[in-house]
Amino acid sequence: MSTFHPRRRRGLAVVGAFAAATLVLGACTNGSSGNDDTSSAISKSNTDNDKSGDKVVIGFSAPAADHGWMGSITKSAIAQAKQYDDVDLKVAEGTNDVNLQISQVETFINDKVDAIVLLPFDGAAMTSVARKAMDAGIVVINVDREFDSPFAARSTVLGDNYGMGVSAGTFVCDDAKGAKDKTVAEIAGIDSLPLTQDRSRGFADALKKCGLKVNNRVAAEFTVESGEKAASNLLQAAPKIDYLWNHDDDQGVGVLAAIKNANRDEFVMIGGAGSADVMESIKAGDSVLKATVVYPSTQAADGVKLARLLVQGKSMSDLAEIEVPRQLKLAAPIVTKDNVDTYLPSAFKS
């Protein structure tokens, strides 16, 4: 026995060294590709506003990146800040604990930053501390989830949830070409959230215009597992579907898995939010996915840009208005094979 030991030990060492090398290499390649994720979509304005001005210190805080879209929010904001040599972006740890997020904003206030770009975990819960920041003379830009007081932010950047539903519904109507006998299904996100209700309302309103309605509707929870569960139930319940709108491309990974398991391909599926994977597969045209609607993950990057303009006293050069607007609602365009190349660079990796 003992004679085998050295050899075995040497074998182990070789395996160990190999494993370590793989780990290191893996970490490196991950790191470098991660940096490229968003840089292609993020750019300067190409106007006089790009001229370097006074130094702007911006504090940034967002919820934990437990979702591809949310991860991209922070990455895009950082990439945007790097474009400007007069912007110093302080990024606080992503957190779903409002207590911690409040203390991050308090730290920014103590630090006397010039502006704060804030995507709150819960808009209502972050309102009072945001107001405290505004009272301290800090420009607060509210992103995606609205505060419940107009005094808590100088400007707000929002996605268009109702518009997502309208875009998806309009695509279905156009594709159905007036046929009234089509079966439409919908897989929603977390049902109690106002944003989900807005999306569904927009979808139903758009369908109504061409005489269609949602025949089957289930709700998931924005996660891959919940998407899989909801979709398999839906596919059981509806033996034949013509159109399926899924609110969210991250949960869509699970939805697609369920569709594959059920061997179904008789329908056209429309995604939501606009992940890179989904856009790639729209481009390739090799699955039921034929379209998706965009919910921009570059909202916080726009927040950074607006914060810089506001602090430097610049205006949005393409508007006649001198002041930066109080609210920006970003469009929710439909992405199909025809225009996918336009949107692919700004898509997020799920």
Binding site: V91, V98, L100, I102, S103, T107, A124, S128, I190, S192
Partner: protein, 337 residues
């Protein structure tokens, strides 16, 4: 009734005596933690200078520490008594939601904002008492009983709130908790009061000595005449009360009640208690150590935020600190015994 001197020879844990815990607030025993906190503060001062050492920043750290700190002090009692509670975050959520429903708020507008405080603390205590009864009289393992409470309390909170965030409209509540007597925020004062009360209760009262006895060896404690089951219920109810207080603090900080409040607070609280030197197996516990544990974590978070450091690095640092602090504690404890 005096504390029974339970000493099972097979037990590794020495039953602490009064002198051991009193006097110097156990500073010597918490040496590892003191060193860790001092090192952290030194790093803060070196890297962030006046931004770290300012009064405003210290208050920011304390406000952040207050919520989790109050829960951790309650948790110290339960763990010292040989139990564990995974439901604290969910209880915080339920308390905050219950205290901010339109019904409660209407009552608060009629009678006074104290109604909201009262209902939060009451709901917390009730949940804790249910945990305690299930564990002590129902013989359900603490891990499972409180896991059930974790699921059902947060579920109930979601039902009551309809998964919406409830905004506190009562001006009196916001005014009181927003005030800063002597420049110190109210919730920091509450934290200090709870900490002092917790220290006194654990180290200077019969209740505290019974807690050590029950945690160290429940059978011996029973033979010594302690009503172990009743005491266990008290311990969990006490933790529930601190959860209610934490809910009030969170309500004042966010001006909302929400079913998402307090998510994963159980892990933060247990981590703070354990690196503080309280034995997970029960029988030994220290409120001062727990306070250090809480302060170490919140100071770490603060230093990272001030220095604009990456999110993931902080998680790694937290893990490393837990291990180092526990190793240091063990070394020092070994040397002393």
């Amino acid at each position: 009734m005096s504390a029974p001197s339970v000493q099972d020879p097979s037990m590794q844990v020495p039953t602490p005596t009064r002198g051991d815990r009193g006097g110097s607030l156990g500073l010597a025993r918490n040496l590892g933690l003191v060193i860790a906190l001092v090192v952290l503060c030194a790093v803060g001062v070196i890297t962030a200078g006046d931004r770290f050492a300012s009064t405003d920043n210290v208050l920011t750290i304390l406000r952040l520490a207050a919520v989790i700190g109050v829960i951790s002090i309650g948790m110290t009692f339960v763990i010292t008594g040989g139990g564990i509670d995974l439901s604290v975050g969910a209880i915080v959520a339920l308390s905050s939601v219950w205290a901010t429903t339109t019904g409660t708020q209407a009552m608060a507008n009629d009678i006074g904002w104290i109604v909201m405080v009262f209902s939060a603390v009451l709901v917390g205590t009730a949940c804790g008492a249910i945990n305690g009864v299930l564990i002590a009289y129902g013989k359900v393992v603490p891990f499972i009983a409180t896991l059930a409470m974790l699921a059902s309390a947060r579920g109930l909170a979601e039902i009551i709130a309809d998964r919406k965030t409830q905004i506190i409209r009562n001006q009196g509540f916001s005014d009181f908790f927003g005030s800063e007597p002597f420049g110190i925020p109210v919730i920091v004062i509450m934290f200090a009061v709870v900490a002092a009360a917790g220290w006194f209760l654990l180290n200077r009262t019969t209740f505290g000595r019974r807690t050590f006895a029950v945690g160290g060896n429940p059978e011996a404690a029973r033979l010594a005449g302690i009503k172990v089951q009743r005491h266990t219920v008290y311990l969990y109810a006490l933790l529930g009360t601190t959860c209610g207080i934490a809910a009030v603090m969170l309500m004042s900080r966010t001006t909302t009640g929400s079913s998402t409040h307090g998510t994963l607070y159980e892990l933060d609280a247990i981590a703070a208690v354990v690196i503080g030197g309280t034995l997970l197996s029960g029988g030994r516990g220290t409120v001062v150590g727990t306070l250090f544990g809480v302060l170490i974590f919140t100071t770490l978070t603060n230093v990272f935020t001030l220095n604009n450091l990456s999110t993931s690095a902080q998680a790694v640092a937290k893990g490393v600190i837990i291990v180092i602090a526990v190793l240091l504690q063990q070394r020092i404890a070994d040397r002393k015994t």
